[in-house]
Symmetry: C2
Subunit: 341 residues, 2 copies
DNA sequence: GAAACATGCTAAAACGTTTTACTACAGGCC
DNA sequence: GGCCTGTAGTAAAACGTTTTAGCATGTTTC
């Protein structure tokens, strides 16, 4: 049950393995292999359905044609959809994907990087956790191609592909203001990472710009690793603590889902008694009653850009890093449309 | 930037690479390497943070400690959640996962198998498409460890882990009948594969057993690869075509979602004018108004079983294949509770 | 007629492991 | 002294590629 090797082809063609390798790697011209021999080898290879042994090739060249994809949580709709795009795009370049979820836990992330490293992936797509900067720099100093996604480290000059989170939050908030909401809160994750920071900043900026008083009591920052029950408890506690609250912006998809659940269990009517905007689109947001306004990320474009940038690093080592910031789209639905009383 | 190799350790310890290999593979006793030397090597390896080069090891042993996971669609909530469990479980055994989505397209599936094969994965977890039986048999005759999931081929003696789809559909239908629904339809996917066939069979059996007249007009079988728009159009056409219809069972999660959308766009009130049961749980089903009754799959258990069965095949080649059929849980919610008029 | 060059191909090393077959030495036994 | 047994290790091959350096042979060039 062995596979076909280059030696088998060589034997059949009556040439050396070297020649076969040259031909099959498209170096026939360069290495002055005659058309005749070249054709013959191609034919035999095709007939035997030769597939190069990637391990042997990898061992020799150091290239595995594999990339590592580290996401926050592959079970999360956003990351799962993105993973699929990445997989498809990478495939176009002949790369396979090894993936892993960090659960936003730095230790888990380090473990994943470790495994990917000794599996010799050629490049990395990383959704970094908060203290992963040292490891990223380590990879960089080892000249490993890498692209950060969803968030990045401002103090590190690396490639990244992210959403314009600031604009997402700013637009969402401005939209709520334009609808006439007066007291708008934000529920976010306690994180200093760019994606969350930018969303909070965008929110605050929109309020300030429209002369809406802002103070810290309008912001609730929850720990990432709470379970659903705790999210709900905390959100309810927060929402009832804000006086005259009339709208709330949930800064991640799972917070939005928990938010919907919480608000309903409080007996408040979304869209009537409280305006709501979520982050990332989701079937639930589309089909909820009322439907939920959200900041939607262009997932296909994000995935394509990620792979494109990574392939650039892979194929042109040493070329300058690239930063891509994509525009979000505000999908306006019923949850944020103030009904004229 | 080379990694640490067994040679580096050998040099430092003043022994041969062979000895290092023996010690590091736990064969010290067996190969009569002294405690002294053994300890020394261990220490040096730890100090240098030696990680074996998986490519070299794989090339020599034929084992890559990698498994291939082929799902229908990694962006689908069910498969994404399962993928995460599989990843975590496999990790416990030191295995990494290479994954791919078939989109239920046999050609794509064959392509994935091809790639996984020449990447030398040690074992396969496969959600088969309809004509993949030949390829499965090919893998089997090459003694490749494999586990089918979600569905299987009755005529092939392979390991598999699936839901008791028959019971799932049977329970769902019986529940609707017990609620007093008289004319119950099913919307399913046009597929002869076990998972869809069993769901349809369970549905029909429940009707017959409760002496509810059944005929083909109660069944709508849609092509898998329609887009959302077409699903909606077809479902609406079907639902309005059935006289006195008072309940409907959607046999997959995405059909359920499309079903909700369709019914609402028809202006029918779910739970009042029409009973509804879906398949696979989902945030949308939990939070929809009204909430949606569904047949829920025990995802964690499925994932654990899959990996366990695969590891058994991996570690005990030639041992008999194992079939695991797990029980679904009917999650009863508002969409199927008939309000007494 | 020798040097220079072009042509077409190959031998052998290397990548980092694992594993088989062996060596070298010591001690015990008859 | 010869033979066996046991102990502690090692040399070398093998896995399937890629790649460097080079070997014949024939053709120009002056």
């Amino acid at each position: 049950m062995k596979g076909i090797s280059i030696k088998d082809i060589a034997k059949q063609a009556g040439v050396s393995p070297t020649t076969v390798s040259f031909v099959l790697n498209g170096k026939a011209k360069e290495k002055r292999i005659s058309e005749q021999v070249s054709k013959k080898i191609q034919k035999i290879a095709a007939r035997l359905k030769y597939k190069p042994n990637q391990l042997a090739r990898g061992l020799r060249t150091g290239k595995t044609k594999t990339i590592g994809l580290i996401v926050e949580d592959i079970a999360n709709n956003f990351f799962a959809s993105l993973a699929k795009v990445v997989e498809d795009e990478a495939d176009k370049y002949g790369y396979k994907v090894l993936y892993g979820s960090t659960e936003d836990n730095t230790e888990k992330a380090k473990g994943l990087l470790e495994v990917l490293k000794y599996r010799q992936v050629d490049g990395y797509i990383i959704t970094p956790t908060k203290n992963l900067d040292k490891e990223i720099e380590l990879l960089q100093s080892a000249s490993k191609p890498l692209v950060l996604m969803d968030r990045y480290f401002p103090h590190i000059n690396s490639s990244y592909v992210v959403l314009n989170n600031y604009k997402g939050a700013y637009d969402a908030t401005t939209h709520l203001i334009a609808q006439g909401y007066k007291k708008i809160a934000i529920v976010t994750i306690a994180s200093e990472q760019t994606q969350m920071k930018d969303r909070l900043d965008g929110f605050v900026a929109a309020l300030k710009e429209h002369k809406i008083p802002f103070n810290k009591s309008l912001v609730k920052r929850l720990a990432f690793d709470l379970d659903r029950e705790s999210f709900n408890t905390e959100i309810k506690k927060f929402l009832t603590s804000v006086k005259d609250l009339d709208a709330v912006f949930f800064a991640t998809n799972y917070l939005g889902i928990a938010g919907i659940e919480s608000i309903r269990s409080l007996g408040w009517e979304i869209g009537r008694e409280i305006g709501l905007v979520g982050f990332d689109d989701h079937d639930l947001f589309r089909l909820h009653s009322p439907s939920i306004t959200c900041v939607s990320q262009p997932i296909a474009s994000i995935g394509k850009n990620i792979v494109e940038v990574l392939m650039n690093e892979l194929n042109h080592p040493g070329s300058p890093s690239r930063q891509v910031v994509l525009a979000p789209e505000l999908v306006v639905r019923a949850s944020s449309l103030k009904q004229k009383a």
